[in-house]
């Protein structure tokens, strides 16, 4: 079946703009138009569906559900629920307090806090659109895996005393959960989709644009030498680079995709993308309100180590 998006990109570049097929600029532009349209369509469809699904998993319900679970089972469920429970970084504090107050262990709470921002819908769309199903699946599996393992490890470290004292004094009132109608869910999901598109749209353009330039102009051997398998520091450095790019999966992933096409191994690329979503500086600042510096440092340290480990693992396993 001919790809209608490919036809559209060809029509625009070779007929409307009358650029010569095979020239660097023409091919880069063709690639840019194709990818931008594909990603914007995917973003609209997937974010809408995800937002509707998420409206059935409010955090109040997740909290009740996790309340009676202990370690291991609790960590696994928390990491999985982190995918479907809606999360914005400003809700991290009430979530954290609410979870601890209802008796959910600290480690289980942290499993949730790791998986929720890491496995996010924008990253998922970008991976699906640019890398395909396999890498998107690997990303979700490693995100959930890291959340489970890091949560269990952090739970064992007995860090409860590094939670700010006032957290344990707060009494959470009983909420009368307001069940939205299906129409409200759909309207909300649609409004949310628009909000996300406005926010990440410009970054998709920038990211795919830079990616297209890399595709056209960066030589293969140079990157493979600098960031390839031969350099054992490539993975930790990738994680460090990912930290200041916080939560900008839309701009980062197209660039990373171009880099992998030029010889950067997939484990290094995944580590960078995971650091972008999981290790966010603004989130750390928000969490400082409930965590003492030592807990915050251990929390981010363990997650960073887990990401580095996953990077090495995939570099070794996938050739």
């Amino acid at each position: 079946m001919p790809d209608p998006l490919k036809l559209l990109a060809d029509l625009l570049v070779y007929r409307v703009f009358r650029l010569h097929q095979g020239a660097h600029l023409a091919d880069a532009l063709n690639f840019f138009i194709y990818d931008v349209i594909k990603i914007l369509l995917l973003l609209t469809a997937i974010i809408f569906v995800v937002a509707v699904i998420r409206s059935f998993f409010p955090p109040e319900r997740t909290r009740q559900f996790l309340g009676r679970k202990r370690s291991w089972v609790g960590n696994i469920l928390a990491a999985l629920l982190g995918i479907v429970t809606p999360f914005c970084s400003c809700s991290a504090v009430p979530l954290f307090i609410g979870f601890l107050e209802s008796g959910i262990p600290l480690g289980v709470t942290l499993s949730f806090l790791i998986s929720s921002p890491t496995v996010n819908e924008v990253a998922l769309v970008m991976l699906l659109g640019l890398f395909g199903l396999k890498v998107a699946g690997l990303y979700i599996a490693s995100g959930v895996g890291i959340a489970i393992v890091a949560g269990i490890v952090l739970g064992r470290l007995k860090l409860e005393r590094y939670v700010e004292e006032y957290v344990y004094q707060i009494k959470v009132g009983s909420a009368d959960y307001v069940r939205p109608t299906f129409r409200q869910r759909a309207t909300d999901a649609w409004a949310y989709t628009g909000e996300i598109l406005r926010k990440v749209g410009p970054w998709v353009l920038v990211g795919v644009g830079v990616g297209a330039l890399i595709h056209g102009y960066v030589p293969v051997n140079w990157l493979a030498k600098v960031a390839g398998r031969g350099n054992p520091f490539a993975v930790p450095i990738a994680v460090l680079i990912g930290v200041p790019l916080y939560s900008n999966a839309a701009g980062t992933i197209p660039i990373v995709q171009a880099l992998t096409a030029k010889g950067v191994p997939i484990g290094t690329a995944l580590a960078l993308m995971m650091a972008v979503t999981a290790l966010s500086l603004p989130e750390a600042i928000i969490l400082r309100r409930v965590m003492k510096p030592r807990l915050l440092a251990v929390y981010f340290g363990v997650v960073a180590l887990a990401i580095v480990f996953v990077g090495y693992l995939f570099n070794a396993v996938i050739r």
């Binding site: 109040e60 504090v93 009430p94 307090i97 009368d176 939205p180 309100r289």
Partner: protein, 79 residues
């Protein structure tokens, strides 16, 4: 009528506040609109997802930005 808007002060909370203020002033309803940013007070309503809107002590919505039409129904007492 006491309308409380719960939220630590992110952009979604500001948008909710803006809609509530606009709706109330458009309908000419006398209401005391208060922002609740203190975490202790927010949690006392049992709400984990912000923003949330509370009218006369009753949680009307949480974890999402309500539409102007919804707010209109709440403040005119139709739901």
């Amino acid at each position: 009528m006491l309308i409380q808007i719960l939220g630590p002060g992110c952009s979604r909370c500001h948008e909710t506040e803006r809609r509530v203020v606009n709706t109330v002033s458009r309908l000419g309803i006398a209401a005391d609109i208060r922002k609740v940013t203190d975490m202790k007070e927010i949690m006392s309503f049992g709400v984990l997802g912000t923003p949330a809107v509370v009218i006369d002590g009753k949680v009307k919505c949480h974890g999402r930005i309500p539409a102007a039409e919804e707010i209109e129904k709440w403040v005119t007492g139709k739901s």
